[in-house]
Every structure is written in structure tokens, then in C-alpha cells.
């Protein structure tokens, strides 16, 4: 058999398996029941009316705030990773390894227990402060690696050109390296933002007041109240409203830099 014929046969087989799987699913499943539980129009209406918009807004607030902190801490840590001073490098390295290896949920729970562990202490803007801090602490570890990679992707010659013009090391970093590094970093940073949007759902573990509900906590409580999964499906779609445009944006940017090369 020629390689070409064989490829054709394999292709036919692949489609065959797919069709068989779909037919089997259609035959076995109780579609009326599934639609009623997952895609119930009344439950969806109820979910929207009960405050889907406010939950969406909270998700955005939690994740954007976390991202701002992650960006600030992460840039500092990333520059520490590149420092000529050994201890700065080691501290930043330890931080990155520690928080990248840790489930984000643990950080959330630990922060929510802080007031218990240190009586009298409280994180400001509760619960926003707690969520922002948890997402910021974890996100910073990833942003730091992005910053480090971005700065290292700027050719050495750029710094040399800047220094040869008499610019100080700090000025060369600020005016020449970072603007280029941030341009390189925009796609990975957007990916990080997408992850933070999803991770903001972990806030369910620390217990929120009704007025602070974000998409996941809101969807869960609606689903419980209506004894139907549809609210969670609606909440899930609401996440996609945020994350899909971002990820399409990343793809566009990556395609255009690939073309620019």
C-alpha cells in the first residue's frame, strides 16, 4: 500500500470512529433530561435576573486587582532575578519556585486565616484585599518569570548601545530595555491575566458575603437554590465572555510578531 493510500484509509477510520461515538452518545443519553438540567431556559433567565452582571463585575474586579499587584510584585521580582547581587537573585528565585509549586487555593485559605492567626490584624478592603493579595502573590511568581524572559530576550547590543551613549545602567534599563521587554511580554502577560480570571473563582473557599459574590460562588448558590446545573453553565459562559476575547487577542499578537520577524 502506498503511503498516500494508507493515510487515506487512516483518515476514513478516524471519521468512522467519530461518527460512531456521536451516534452512540445520541442513542444512550436521555437528551430531554440533559437539556432540562444543563440548558434550562427558565433557570438561565432566573440566573441573569438574580445578578449575573454584578457577579461578572466582581470577577473582573477581583482578577484585575490581583493582576495589578502581580504585575508590580512580579516586575520587581523579575528584575531581582536578573540582579548582579547574588542574594537578590536567590530570594527572587526561592519566591518564584515556592509560589509556582503551591496550589493557589492554599494561599487563599492561608490569607483568610491571617486574622485568626494574628488577632487584631486585618487585610484592608476585605474581602477584596484578601483576594487581590492572594492572586497577586501567586501571579507575581509567574509574572517574574515572564519579566526575566522578556528582559533576556532584548539583545545585549541594546544595552551596549545605550551605555555607549553615556546612559547609566538604570536609564538604559528604563528607557531602552523595559519598553522592548514589555512589548515581548504582552502575550504571556495576557495569558497570565486569563489564568487569574479563572483563579479568582478560588475565592469560594474563603466564604463571601452575598453582596461580594463573583461568578463561581454566584453560579453555585443559584444552582443550589434552583436544584439545576444551568446557572453554573451560564456562569461558565460568562467566564468565556472575558477569557475568549483575551485569548484571541494573544493569538493575534503572536501571529503579528511572528510576521514581523
Amino acid at each position: 500500500m502506498s503511503p498516500r493510500k494508507r493515510r487515506q484509509r487512516i483518515r476514513v477510520l478516524q471519521y468512522g470512529v467519530l461518527v460512531a461515538a456521536i451516534v452512540a452518545a445520541a442513542a444512550i443519553a436521555d437528551w430531554g433530561q440533559i437539556v432540562d438540567v444543563f440548558f434550562n431556559v427558565d433557570a438561565a433567565r432566573q440566573t441573569v435576573a438574580d445578578g449575573l452582571g454584578s457577579a461578572l463585575l466582581h470577577t473582573v474586579t477581583y482578577s484585575l486587582g490581583g493582576f495589578v499587584l502581580a504585575f508590580i510584585f512580579g516586575t520587581i521580582l523579575g528584575l531581582m532575578r536578573l540582579s548582579e547581587v547574588g542574594p537578590y537573585r536567590w530570594i527572587a528565585r526561592a519566591y518564584v519556585e515556592f509560589f509556582r509549586g503551591l496550589p493557589t487555593l492554599i494561599v487563599f485559605i492561608a490569607l483568610s486565616l491571617m486574622p485568626l492567626a494574628f488577632p487584631g490584624m486585618s487585610i484592608p478592603f476585605d474581602p477584596y484585599g484578601t483576594v487581590w493579595l492572594a492572586l497577586g502573590i501567586v501571579g507575581a511568581a509567574y509574572v517574574a518569570e515572564t519579566v526575566r524572559a522578556g528582559v533576556q530576550a532584548v539583545p545585549r547590543g541594546q544595552v551596549e548601545a545605550a551605555r555607549s551613549l553615556g546612559m547609566s545602567s538604570a536609564a538604559a534599563t528604563r528607557k531602552v530595555v523595559l519598553p522592548q521587554a514589555f512589548r515581548i511580554m504582552i502575550p504571556p502577560l495576557t495569558n497570565e491575566l486569563i489564568i487569574l480570571v479563572k483563579d479568582s473563582s478560588l475565592v469560594f473557599a474563603i466564604g463571601l458575603a452575598l453582596s461580594d459574590f463573583e461568578l463561581t460562588t454566584f453560579g453555585k448558590s443559584e444552582a443550589n437554590a434552583l436544584a439545576n446545573v444551568t446557572p453554573l453553565v451560564v456562569a461558565g459562559l460568562a467566564y468565556l465572555v472575558i477569557t475568549l476575547p483575551l485569548s484571541i487577542l494573544v493569538q493575534r499578537m503572536e501571529a503579528s510578531t511572528a510576521k514581523g520577524r
Binding site: 539583545p155 545605550a162 551605555r163 555607549s164 553615556g166 531602552v176 512589548r183
Partner: protein
């Protein structure tokens, strides 16, 4: 020459290098270089690949720090730990083989950035100086172009204008035409010839023997980290005394070998 090098006469050298040694790890690249350049002099440095030409040039503005020896520019020893190297570099322009233009900035901004950040010139004056120098290199009409929109020859001329905008006393060129397509070499050499005619002090690492012969006041042949031979172009290129110089020139000037460099 006599040993009155400390007296600030017009004949005192602009650059005076004594017993320069530079190693990268255990690779001893510069092995005792003595070299001086008078104001207004054009010196071409030639020699085989790996002989240390770039390293010597980069020691003159301390992009590489030598382990042994002095680099005295305008009477100031740049190897002195108390020397303000950023201040010294303002007077030493450098042009790189790979141009190293700032890709995120227009031709004009490339020429104003260091004027603004290093010299603290007001925007209007920096722009005026930048325009004057872009005109000097024949690119008055390209001030709004980004480096990626310019040909290699144009980029290199912007890089020259960028260095000139700091009003340097000395210009260092490290193989400024080696990365260019053959048909673009001429425009860059023309600009350099113009600079030499205006009396700029220049140290040029180059493989362009015709340029060296025509423009250089002095030619320095390096091999194995030492200066093997130096003199007028007629002496070094026209009538080399040292075996190694003869052997190098035979290879470079052999027309069947022209593409090998």
C-alpha cells in the same frame, strides 16, 4: 615620540592605551597593547578574525573592562575605579556592526534619547541637533521611520547620527559595513569619509582595505592579541614588513577570496 604625554598640548594624544591585557576566562585575548591616537587622526585597525580588534575597541569605552593596563582618554584614566564612566562615554561615540538602533523608536527619537536623558537637553534643542545630524548622514527625510522600515545602510547611518548627536570627540567603528549588502556599503563609507574630512578623530575596525588605504592616517595590524605592525596605509597595506601582515593581506586582497570575509 617624546615622553611629554602629560602636558596638555594640542599634540598630546586623545587616546592613550598602555600595556592593555584582557582575558575572557583563560582566553587571553589582548596581550599587552600600547596604542595612542592623536586628535583628528583616523586609525584603521585590521587583522584576522579573533585577533582581538573588537575587544580592543570595546576597552576604549569600557564596554569590556581590561584586567591590566590603562586606557587614558582626554587625560582621564577610564580604568580608574573613581572614574565616572558614564560621563566619559558621552565624548566617545560608538557604531556597531549590527547597528543596535532602538527598534521601538523612530530615527529621530533614536538620536534624541541620550541627549535628553544624559545631557538633559530640552526637547526642542535635542530635536534640532538630531535633525542636523540626520541631515549630515543624508537621512533628513527619514526622521519618522522606525528602524525596521529602513535598509541596513540607512540604519547604520542613523546609528552614526545617533552617536554624533552627543557631539563626541572620538568615534569608534566596529566593522560598520560588515553586516551590509555589498551595494549598501558605499553610502556608509561615504558618510565616514565625510566625517574624517571634517577632522573627527576615528578608530575604525574594518575589512574595507580600499577605505583604509584612502582615508586612514594610520593602519594598525593586529594578530593574536598584539599589534604586529603599524604605520601609514602605504607602509602597512602597500609594503608590509611582517610575515603575518603579508600573509593576512594576501588572503584579504586576493580577489578569488573576496567573499571569504
Amino acid at each position: 615620540m617624546t615622553s611629554n604625554e602629560q602636558t596638555p598640548e594640542s599634540s598630546s594624544p586623545l587616546v592613550d592605551i598602555r600595556n592593555l591585557h584582557k582575558s575572557f576566562g583563560d582566553n587571553h585575548v589582548l596581550r599587552g597593547i600600547d596604542f595612542s591616537v592623536a586628535p583628528g587622526e583616523v586609525v584603521c585597525v585590521i587583522g584576522p578574525s579573533g585577533s582581538g580588534k573588537s575587544t580592543l575597541l570595546r576597552c576604549i569605552n569600557m564596554l569590556e573592562e581590561p584586567q591590566v593596563g590603562d586606557v587614558v582618554v582626554r587625560g582621564e584614566d577610564l580604568t580608574d575605579p573613581d572614574c565616572d564612566i558614564d560621563a566619559a562615554r558621552r565624548h566617545i561615540g560608538m557604531v556597531f556592526q549590527q547597528f543596535n538602533l532602538f527598534p521601538h523608536q523612530t530615527a529621530l527619537s533614536n538620536c534624541t534619547l541620550a541627549q535628553r536623558t544624559v545631557l538633559g537637553r530640552p526637547a526642542a534643542e535635542a530635536t534640532r541637533v538630531a535633525r542636523m545630524n540626520l541631515e549630515r548622514v543624508g537621512l533628513a527625510d527619514k526622521e519618522d521611520a522606525l528602524p525596521a522600515q529602513l535598509s541596513g545602510g540607512q540604519q547604520q547611518r542613523v546609528a552614526i547620527a545617533r552617536a554624533l548627536s552627543m557631539a563626541p570627540l572620538l568615534m569608534l567603528f566596529d566593522e560598520p559595513t560588515s553586516a551590509l549588502d555589498p551595494e549598501l556599503v558605499g553610502e556608509v563609507l561615504t558618510v565616514m569619509r565625510g566625517l574624517a574630512d571634517e577632522g573627527m578623530t576615528m578608530i575604525v575596525v574594518t575589512h574595507e582595505m580600499a577605505f583604509a588605504r584612502e582615508v586612514a592616517d594610520r593602519v594598525v595590524f593586529m594578530d593574536g592579541g598584539v599589534i604586529v605592525e603599524e604605520g601609514t596605509p602605504a607602509e602597512v597595506i602597500g609594503d608590509p614588513q611582517e610575515e603575518r601582515t603579508q600573509e593576512f593581506l594576501r588572503r584579504v586582497l586576493d580577489p578569488t577570496n573576496a567573499g571569504a570575509l
